[in-house]
Symmetry: D2
Subunit: 393 residues, 4 copies
């Protein structure tokens, strides 16, 4: 069928695009319907409503028909006006990256930046906002994927609201894998997608937008319309009474439908628990092998990604290539500033299962050993398996 | 599984999103691979190369991971500099629409607009470019879908090149259904997608960009980067030696792979021939029924969409709803200026088969008759079937 | 991908294997589970129970893992003892065929045979059973597919029960397309499958077996065990407390699951209604075209298949080949004694939609006209469309 | 969608039904075609021919449309005449089982039975056939799945041929996972299927039948016809010039098509090598953990299944249930005489990958440890990983 000489991977343990659930893959092969057909319109509304239910908000979810980074870029474009002061919280590559979008649109960018293995201190946010009461928009990444670290989102959200700021939350790689919801963190714009912890296709953005944020966007005279960067174009598109501004990605919506059914039927708490257990088992194995977590403190290590420091004297590319060659197991590289410094083991959707912690430790440890590193794989696997066993005590 | 009360359509004969081939639907359920995995990188390159082969260009196709309107908007953003004069050719809603994007970026917009049931006269283009030698960029829609009409693209392309203009071609709803290629029309930016005549999912853009256009984009200091609107971000993304700027829509690429295999294996000439035959049979039926084609002249009626004037005294919505209720057949409405004035019967991909001309005439005629119109369905079907039979003489 | 030179059909209007619903095709790609895994065992039981619900019986359905003809052959092997007198009701090729299986096992075969365009007269059954009170087993085909005719099943069933006979019902090509259930016809063994009117894959048998029949089988010392022909092997296989005697066809069960969900969610009455309407519209068209129905009387024409007499001087093969060549539409041939004498238009599952009556009349009429027959296609289509319109009056 | 409370397994490492390749699952969702349509007939022939190519025989493969046990039962029914002496070689439950089918049809059954952890000695076959020159048919199971042991097939085949016997080979769970072909073992009837090492659906049988065997079947007056147990019914069914005797299981054929493409494109030698490596790694781990292989000698342990003795004092059910609960990993139980005595780890198709040896050892060892057994999981995993690493030295 194809001339590709590279073998397909056996097990993909990445931080996204991540493996999708079989049920979602089946749904991707649903017929492509005409967007204005009444069936599709009812279906689209249903998907928007059930996605909202998953996010625990009332209004139908806003869907943007491209990967979530587009939803984030569009948020910057729509929400930030030329007179706005933006506080950007940067604890990693993605957090820092939002600042580059924000400066295109804002009057002034204020930034709190911490080392990329650290988390934002809510008190620093409080201090910054007290010092600069003109801060209007605050942006934070919940799980800064290239670092595998999470920020104390709900605390930050409370502070931002206390200062009457509008909060943009990038929860792309945390929602669906842990207990995070727009309401709890008081997000005004909450951005996620099905391609990470929800075990779905990566080409669509899921959003929840507060009335405050819609009002701000409506008031922003520089906000784009008739553009992929316009959120307002799509505000009411879930309703059959409003036209789609552009063509929705029908197949991605088909996938999203199954993604949400899957999540709600298994039960969010159950889903989060297996993400948490898998990550804990994995971190225990990493440490017991004699490797170091990238996160400065284990409390801020994400339950959806375990980032491991590349040991001195070793190349991350070589380690990943060896794990793939020996075991067919694929890990994520770092990205930008973290590229080369860490290896990321994703615990997302269907791979958020304890056995994949065993797989990860074996493949990572086995690769390192193959390359001459004295990783104590035995100790690693024992620690991993102990965590799993303890969960069934 | 769902609480949707609306029945799914039986046969979708629309101008997009259009029905996808079974083979493509199967491919949509391929596993979601990690974008940086060597297998996916080889796969992505292969898809980009085979898509180029389908477009009959040498360089791997440029893929933009959102529906083709985004590729068009991005082209405006990247190619048109603040000092550029743009000639926009508007023979329909989509052609006109490009002008709204162009004015965001250009110094001056010159427009040739014809009635939306007409086509652009190449001589008018020649005249305009002779009069305004400072015109740098020309934009044309090949098949203006909301009108079902095609422009004389190759002639226009020759003229634009003679005047040394850069030509943007929107071939979204013609490529794959008729003989149109970037080389033949001398397009500098050629934009299409799998969701129309190729019978695939609508969420990705296929493009071919000339060296002249890449040079212009590189020289355009206002061109976006780090944005969904940046084409340059993705220029070399097909190569495993270049990083993806953002996450590709993996499942859409899986679908595109099958789309192109399907097209090349059946043989482009064979594919075009069945689009042409189906459209001819359909137009014959429309006319014989006593209805009028929207197109001012049959020569400019698209082989991929037959637009039919809504008869006086009837409502397009009611006609479409009746066709759906009685027959389960779905047609496209018009759009913007053509909304309410015409009904569009798509001949795209798997529905570009003569039997669907019969289906279309039956459902359209039957609906009209049901609503009290004296459409001569018998004559329509006879004419349609005669065209089909004649093709097998 | 393949070197096959024959083009795939566009629309398949056959009496089985018939086109499957998209939803069922998606379900066919569910992972293959281990048959003894608790998940699969629970799933299997659920499928058996919901299939029973569709048949309106209490006990979980009996599944035999091969196409329904195997279920019928196995019924003959298991139910008919060497001392049994069997009354076989033959109104067609399939009815007649059961006799060949019955004689392998019975003491004596009594047969009521009518012309293959006729139906069994219940009074004849009553007479035969009165005359031969030693008749123990009676077999009848509800819809004798090669003839497209249905027998008065419920009346026959009442008579058989009055005479205390055991009734075998082949409802393979009627169940799911019309109102037929084991209880209503007092079947002791009721055999059907997902591959016809239910719009599913053809490789599995669905059965309902009465306690009386199970008792008879248990008492039959010649009945097979440890064999594909043994029903008793599988009697309790739905229960996780019983081992599977052989390997179930996991993917077919996956398909069956979706088949039944689809049927129950749409609503049996709704499903039957569209089979009925499509068949009526089709028959009206056939007659108006000047062709003859195969069935001696329209009352016995099946709502799931319209059998049309091949006009004198024409070859059925040529007609079918022409319909396929011109329109891509595939019809069923006859079978054995009816082969060459009729053409069958299936109205099954997803093709039991009125528009496919239009398609059938067009393709059949168009093919005949192409071959020189003076079929009045116009009149045919008008009659077909009138029936459809009248249903929405 | 369903009310099933049991969670789906995470990783299925069974001896069949075994996990299917994603590509095969996609193919299962191909449209269901009418069996007499020219496209399907060409497709069926192509599948039969490519399956023959995989078996390295010239004649198109014989397909029987039920799981392979049916192909075996049918072979007994068709090949064994009432005057035939059959030598049955029983090294396990499946080998023994064939004898029960053989005695139904033969004059006399001669059996060589060895303990079910042993293999047949070719010299014993030679001795038996020398002693009883009237032995006409010999039957052997290559890989007796319930024991995980393989017989020296090619040596046995040579001896049987030297004695002019007809050889029946059950290669259901070895073909596709190791180097076994009808020609090499001089099989007259060679039976396998896609549901084990080929990574496909379990509901169809693949066979290669020699001319000698066809002659014997033709001469067998007791051989079934018009029956699921008839091989001769299907002898020429691959050819469009012969009718299908019954309905083929279209979806299973769709799956088989992908199964064979997959096998031939990857390359049989490559496929066998990963089965072999995975099994060796697994056996090393089992032994290093302090457990015992079921096979009396490692040379006869199958590369497609590793059978492990259940340690004294432990229950196999409990071990398997614990592995499933803690890790979501599913193993096969034994069957009949081996039930309760061993646990089987399948290495078949997509699970014949070294990482699954790691998964198996972890899950088996972890389960045992959880239950109080002092399995040395560390040593086991180390041994497993050493074998894998050595393969990449």
């Amino acid at each position: 069928m194809s001339g590709i000489k590279v073998k397909e991977p056996v097990i993909t343990l990445t931080s996204g695009p991540a493996a999708a659930y079989p049920r979602v893959l089946q749904a991707m092969s649903k017929p492509v319907q005409y967007d204005y057909d009444p069936y599709f319109q009812a279906f689209y509304e249903e998907v928007a409503r059930k996605t909202a239910k998953a996010m625990r908000v009332d209004e139908p979810a806003l869907l943007i028909h491209a990967e979530p980074a587009v939803g984030i870029e569009a948020t910057a474009a729509c929400l930030i006006g030329r007179d706005d002061v933006v506080l950007n919280l940067a604890s990693g590559v993605y957090g820092k990256g939002f600042g580059y979008w924000a400066v295109r649109y804002c009057k002034e960018l204020v930034e709190i930046e911490v080392p990329y293995n650290e988390a934002i201190d809510p008190e620093a946010v409080d201090a910054a906002m007290s010092e600069r009461p003109d801060i209007k928009v605050v942006s934070v990444v919940h799980h800064d994927t290239p670092s595998g670290t999470v920020n104390p989102l709900n605390e930050i959200g409370r502070i931002v609201r206390d200062h009457d700021g509008l909060l943009i939350v990038d929860a792309v790689s945390s929602f669906g894998g842990m207990d995070v919801h727009p309401g709890d963190c008081m997000a005004d714009v909450f951005i996620t997608g099905p391609g990470k912890c929800l075990g779905g296709p990566p080409g669509v953005t899921i959003m929840a937008v507060s009335d405050r944020a819609w009002d701000q966007m409506a008031a922003n005279q520089d906000g784009p319309t008739a553009s992929i960067l316009s959120l307002t174009d799509w505000k009411d598109a879930w309703s059959k009474d409003h036209a789609f501004p552009f063509t929705p990605s029908v197949s991605e919506v088909n996938g999203l439908d199954a993604v949400i059914d899957n999540y709600l039927e298994e039960g969010p708490e159950t889903v989060w628990a297996r993400h948490d257990l898998t990550a804990r088992a994995c971190r225990a194995g990493v440490k017991a092998m004699g490797l170091e977590l990238w996160a400065a403190r284990e409390e801020i290590a994400a339950p959806t990604t375990t980032a491991v420091k590349v040991p001195d004297g070793f190349e991350d590319k070589e380690i990943r290539a060896t794990a793939r060659e020996l075991y067919g197991v694929v890990f994520s590289a770092g990205r930008a500033e973290t590229d080369g410094k860490l290896i990321r083991i994703g615990h997302m959707g269907p791979t958020a299962e304890p056995i994949y912690a065993v797989v990860a430790i074996s493949a990572l440890g086995g690769a390192l050993r193959k390359l001459g590193h004295n990783a104590d794989v035995n100790a690693g696997l024992e620690a991993t398996m102990d965590v799993i066993a303890a969960a069934h005590a």
